[in-house]
């Protein structure tokens, strides 16, 4: 295996570097003077649009705000939403998938019907229903005051993630349960829970990891789409989707306001896909060595 | 001598991350028209790679090939697939172990047989289908007219292998390469398929190379046997001669390790200790030496060449063959030690 990795895999290195760099910037943005101060107001006044590589790295928008700084803040929100929703999606979808695939029968029929319905539901309808409902809850009840728009969007996206994840995990579980080592474990007297956790789960990981990486990429785009349609978090906090949406009217005068967040989104999605692909291949080598 | 198929010093090595795998490492044999050669070996012996090398079916990337393969006097080693197309089907055909994955699941049986006829022999479609029906009769598939319109999944494993044979025979090849053709089948069906292959070979005056791990299969169905170990032929002889007088200790050990029907139950089996050699860095000297019961110092350093056994056509690669004084002494000493 060492012979394979000898040649440096530049796409992977770049993808990892991009994601790590972006994450660090995004989550330390509040402490970095060159980002923090510039996101909301500009030292050079309102109303100008400066191009990239002037006094602003990626130019400024109509209100004179630094596009780079806003992109980094956008990354903070976008990444958080995507990551949280994929985690919720994986836990819920993965559990449903494992239950359906392992126990079969009625549980399988119920869960499969549920995922079928979920997949057929237009995402925008879910977004309207959930954000509206959650906004109302937050306003009316003290107990739900934590339920910010960030959480609403996260829930919407995680609902979108559940069904595909549940399907993939169900199919994988089904095929792994038929392997003889699972039968062997049961013949040794292992309980169902133990079989699921010890025998099946570790073998689900490779497929899950690559799906999760691709899933994050898809959710980032979905977040952008929802924001573009107006379903985003409270103003004025930026997300990538909102940045693209709010600057697109000025694309003739200040193209960087729209294009730069697009480039960021593109690079991030690509990086997640590249990494997911490589990780899946890493696991595959172990399987191929059988 | 024969100029039907001459394989001389052929090697096939594969580039892998671990280094070069010497899957076939200097193999030489000839095959006459109408004869059957059995190639016997365990997994990793190079028998399947050898048959694919002859057929020209290996990927060119990462493969190092050498030696000459002359078919009817023409060099075919190293030909591009476009040049091999004249040979595949019409001159040489191959059948594989798994009949299900070698058939197209979405195409009717009739068309799968007719296809090579239409493409290779420019036969009109209706004539090709009529020929397909005749081929199905030849391979003893009942109700051949009905079968033409069936799909592979509607047939049993044995029937599918018969269809594969019909496809292989369609363009009238002179050489049939059968790679473990019966390994996936039940014994009763295996016997039927082997009989069928023999009968078709005789009717069509074909030559056949039968690749298998089963000494029992080659015993009744070949004229000559080549035993492969670690990418090399270690013994080759006419079938009767080989079973009467096995000279290479590996051949003898292989036969000994098979449970026999005519021995009482709970007979202790003779085993070959250890594992087949790693073909990335094969042992120096004789490749069987690390597992050989009679290996001497010379065996570990010097590679034995294929030498003649006296009887015509019988060659073996061993310094101290079965029956030689050194071999006998080594075996006796070993027997004493274990007691």
């Amino acid at each position: 295996m060492s012979a394979i990795t000898k040649k440096r895999d530049w796409p992977t290195v770049l993808a990892a570097a991009w994601l790590i760099g972006l994450t660090i910037l995004a989550f330390t943005a509040d402490y970095l003077p060159f980002i923090r101060g510039y996101a909301e107001s500009s030292p050079e006044g309102i109303g100008f649009s400066k191009g990239p590589f002037t006094s602003f790295l990626l130019g400024s928008d109509q209100l004179g705000r630094d596009v780079f700084a806003r992109c980094i803040y956008g990354a903070q929100i976008s990444l958080r939403i995507a990551l949280f929703s994929i985690i919720i999606g994986t836990v819920v979808g993965g559990t449903l998938g494992m239950v359906a695939g392992f126990f079969g029968k009625a549980s399988d029929r119920a869960i499969s019907a549920f995922t079928d319905v979920m997949l057929a539901f237009p995402p925008i309808v879910i977004a309207i229903l959930v954000t509206g409902r959650f906004d109302a809850l937050r306003k009316n009840s003290e107990a739900f005051s934590w339920l910010s728009r960030t959480w609403s969007i996260t829930f919407v996206l995680s609902i979108l993630a559940i069904a595909p994840l549940a399907r993939i995990v169900r199919a994988q579980t089904l095929s792994i349960s038929q392997r003889e080592f699972v039968l062997a474990a049961r013949s040794l007297g292992a309980r169902n829970g133990r079989v699921l956790v010890r025998e099946i789960l570790p073998n689900l990981v490779p497929a899950m990891v690559s799906v999760i990486f691709t899933g994050v990429a898809v959710l980032l785009i979905a977040e952008g789409g929802l924001a573009f349609l107006g379903y985003s978090i409270e103003l004025p906090t930026p997300t990538w989707g909102r940045l693209i949406a709010e600057n697109r009217n000025f694309i003739r005068e200040a193209w960087w306001g729209t294009i730069m967040p697009c480039v960021m989104l593109f690079a991030t999605v690509l990086s997640f896909n590249v990494l997911g692909d490589r990780i899946a291949r890493r696991f595959d080598i172990r399987e191929a060595a059988l | 001598m024969s100029d039907f198929l001459e394989v001389t010093d052929v090697f096939t090595h594969f580039e892998t991350p671990r280094g070069q795998v010497r899957a076939v490492d200097g193999v030489t044999f000839t095959l006459e028209r109408g004869k059957t050669l059995g190639i016997v070996g365990e997994s990793g012996s190079g028998k399947t790679i050898l048959s694919r090398t002859i057929m020209g079916l290996l990927p060119t990337r990462g493969t190092v090939r050498g030696g000459t393969i002359r078919y009817k006097g023409e060099e075919i080693q190293g030909r591009a697939p476009s040049e091999m197309r004249d040979i595949w089907g019409k001159q040489m055909a191959m059948i594989f172990q798994d009949p299900m994955s070698s058939l197209n699941p979405l195409m009717k049986i009739g068309m799968q047989i007719a296809e090579p006829l239409i493409h290779n022999l420019d036969m009109p479609k209706d004539q090709a289908l009529a020929t397909a029906k005749r081929l199905l009769d030849d391979v003893r598939i009942p109700e051949s007219v009905k079968r033409l319109n069936q799909y592979p999944h509607e047939l049993s494993g044995g029937m599918r292998q018969r269809v594969m044979i019909a496809i292989a025979l369609a363009c009238g090849p002179n050489l049939l390469l059968a790679d473990e053709p019966t390994t996936a089948l039940d014994v009763t069906v295996q016997a039927q398929i082997l009989d069928l292959l023999r009968e078709q070979r005789q009717d069509r005056n074909m030559s056949m190379i039968l690749v298998t791990h089963d000494l029992g299969v080659v015993a009744g169905h070949t004229d000559e046997i080549a035993v492969m170990y670690g990418g090399k032929i270690v013994e080759k002889a006419p079938t009767d001669g080989l079973f009467k007088n096995m000279l290479m200790p590996y051949t003898a050990a292989l036969l000994e390790s098979i449970p026999k029907m005519n021995r009482p139950s709970h007979t202790r089996l003779t085993t070959i200790p250890g594992r087949p050699p790693d073909l990335v860095s094969p042992p120096a000297g004789c490749r069987f030496a690390p597992r050989c019961p009679a290996a001497q110092e010379r065996c570990h350093s010097e590679e034995p060449p294929l030498s003649s056994a006296g009887s015509p056509g019988h060659v073996y690669a061993c310094w101290y063959p079965v029956g030689s004084p050194v071999y006998r002494e080594a075996i006796e000493r070993r027997a004493k030690e274990t007691v």
């Binding site: - | 029937m159 009763t188 791990h213 449970p259 026999k260 029907m261």
Partner: protein, 339 residues
Amino acid sequence: MAGTGKAHLRSGDALLRVEDLVVEFPVGRTGLKVNAVSGISFDVMRGETLGIVGESGCGKSTTGRGIMQLPSPNSGAVVFNGQDLSQLTGSDMREARTKIQMIFQDPISSLNPRRKVRDIVKEPLDIWKRGTSAEQDARVDKVLEDVGIDPQRAAESQPHQFSGGQCQRISIARSLVLDPSLIICDEPVSALDVSVQAQVLNLLEDLKAAYGLTMIFIAHDLAVVKNISDRVAVMYLGKLCEVATSDDLYRRPAHHYTKVLLDSIPVPDPSRPVAHGRIEGEPPSPVLPPTGCRFHTRCPAASDRCRNEEPQMRDVGDNHFVACHHPAWGGDAPVSITR
């Protein structure tokens, strides 16, 4: 041939007694069912090895899994150590299963690819919390050494770092670690090379003696089954055909199917003429099995009686039992008046 009938069951100290075992699987949602095992009975004495042979689809593997109640049979009793397993549920069932262990055909698929080999072998002790950690380690080391695997290497490596034969040894170690009394081997050597197969067969014989095991050995290879078994049961399409001691069955098969099976085996001896006890065709579908004797569609001796009346298992002398109206020897079955 009908497995119905229990003339071949013995009185005495049977470790396992299976009566009228039936296993059926639904075919999708068509309402049809696969009659995998249709009412077979047999017993295994303490310390005995029972071989079960038959072609693919005859229900021999399903029988093995039916004994383990994985999945539970549709009907029939599986009395193990005086306890009917089919009546047990929950933790009683799990507890009982530890006394019966299985070894599977595919040595690689039967080991979890993502765990260390030593942990795989230790798993059973961990499930049942047997002994202290030190005792568990000692037990695992001993069993690993008994099957010829280096415990140190097992602690560091995953299954794919071992060869097929070694993986099968690891499976055997896992099955022995709980000290079972019955081992069900389901085609344990058919995925292995001939030279390795002999090693594993010898190992099984040694372990059987060392651990005081009783064994059920399921395989399609008659020579292998004969070598390892004391008593052999021949299955066809979910029914038993013939039960006899290993040597007797091979010396004088009474059932026509057994005869065909024996004649189909390729013998590694070219001087033996190729047998002509061939049968045409392949086994019918277990979804719609033939009436009467299930073998009558391919049997050379089939009569009208065979088409209508299911033969019962009966004694033809010397502990040799056959379910056939017109066996090769032992006389026709008496005509039954009932039905």
